[in-house]
């Protein structure tokens, strides 16, 4: 899995390319941690090239939700494929995670 980051307008975009599983979840965790250290207030995960996610990857998202809410940080998943949505739906996570098809206008 390859992770890249990009700042576009107010959005700190973390793009994931490949499979997000127990072998790679730590990379995502590090990227989100880094965004928070940079005091970013709008974090978007670009899932366009995300091919697979297991609970290890979803756990990273879940572990930050309380902090995002507390610090009023905008967090969204962008370009989520149907296959990934099916995985999110197993535990009803589509209701908890903000899923978007394009970046919001600012």
């Amino acid at each position: 899995m390859i992770i890249s980051t990009l700042k576009e307008n107010i959005f700190y975009i973390i793009s994931i390319d490949g499979d997000l599983d127990a072998s790679s979840a730590l990379q995502l965790d590090t990227a989100i941690k880094q965004a928070l250290e940079l005091n970013e207030k709008s974090i978007v995960i670009n899932c366009k090239k995300l091919n697979y996610v297991s609970s290890s990857g979803l756990g990273v998202f879940i572990s930050y939700l309380a902090e995002f809410e507390k610090d009023n940080i905008y967090f969204a998943l962008l370009h989520v494929k149907d296959k990934i949505l099916n995985t999110l739906n197993i535990l009803g996570l589509t209701k908890l995670l903000h899923i978007i098809e394009k970046l919001p206008n600012v």
Partner: protein, 144 residues
């Protein structure tokens, strides 16, 4: 129609770097048997979750330990058996957390078995002759 009854076996050493190989084995075996993509993707995920737990928690990613995955298709059901010789899992003590509890705890784990239970029709764990054995069953449909 499904292809005739299959039994496939894959063995690998306990490293999370091998999870993708395990997923590829499960995916290829099921698709070759004409099981639909949605069911295949779900079973791949369930097997990945059990194997991740076994590799990380039961075997501490010991490269000298091995994990075996058996797949069998019979009468419209996929049977999966996952075996390893790692530390016994205290299945009776396992209590499924709620998602809200995990959010509150800022937990990064604990969702794997929840996923498996939601995906598969049956899941059982036994510890027998020093082996951890997970058995999973799911009814599947043919076609794409």
């Amino acid at each position: 129609m499904f292809n005739s009854s299959i039994t496939n076996h894959y063995t690998t050493f306990c490293s999370v770097q091998n999870l993708k190989k395990i997923r590829n084995f499960v995916e290829k075996s099921l698709l070759k048997s004409n099981i639909n993509i949605r069911d295949t993707e779900m079973i791949v995920l369930a097997v990945d979750e059990v194997c991740s737990n076994s590799i990380i928690h039961s075997n501490s990613q010991n490269p000298n330990s091995f994990i075996d995955i058996f797949l069998k298709l019979k009468k419209g059901e996929v049977f999966v058996e996952i075996k390893d010789k790692g530390k016994e899992f205290d299945y009776n003590a396992y209590q499924e957390p709620s998602i809200s509890q995990l959010i509150k705890e800022k937990a990064k784990g604990k969702m794997g078995l929840m996923m498996v239970r939601n995906i598969m029709d049956k899941m059982e764990y036994i510890h027998e002759k020093d082996l951890n054995i997970f058995r999973l069953v799911k009814k599947v449909e043919a076609g794409f």
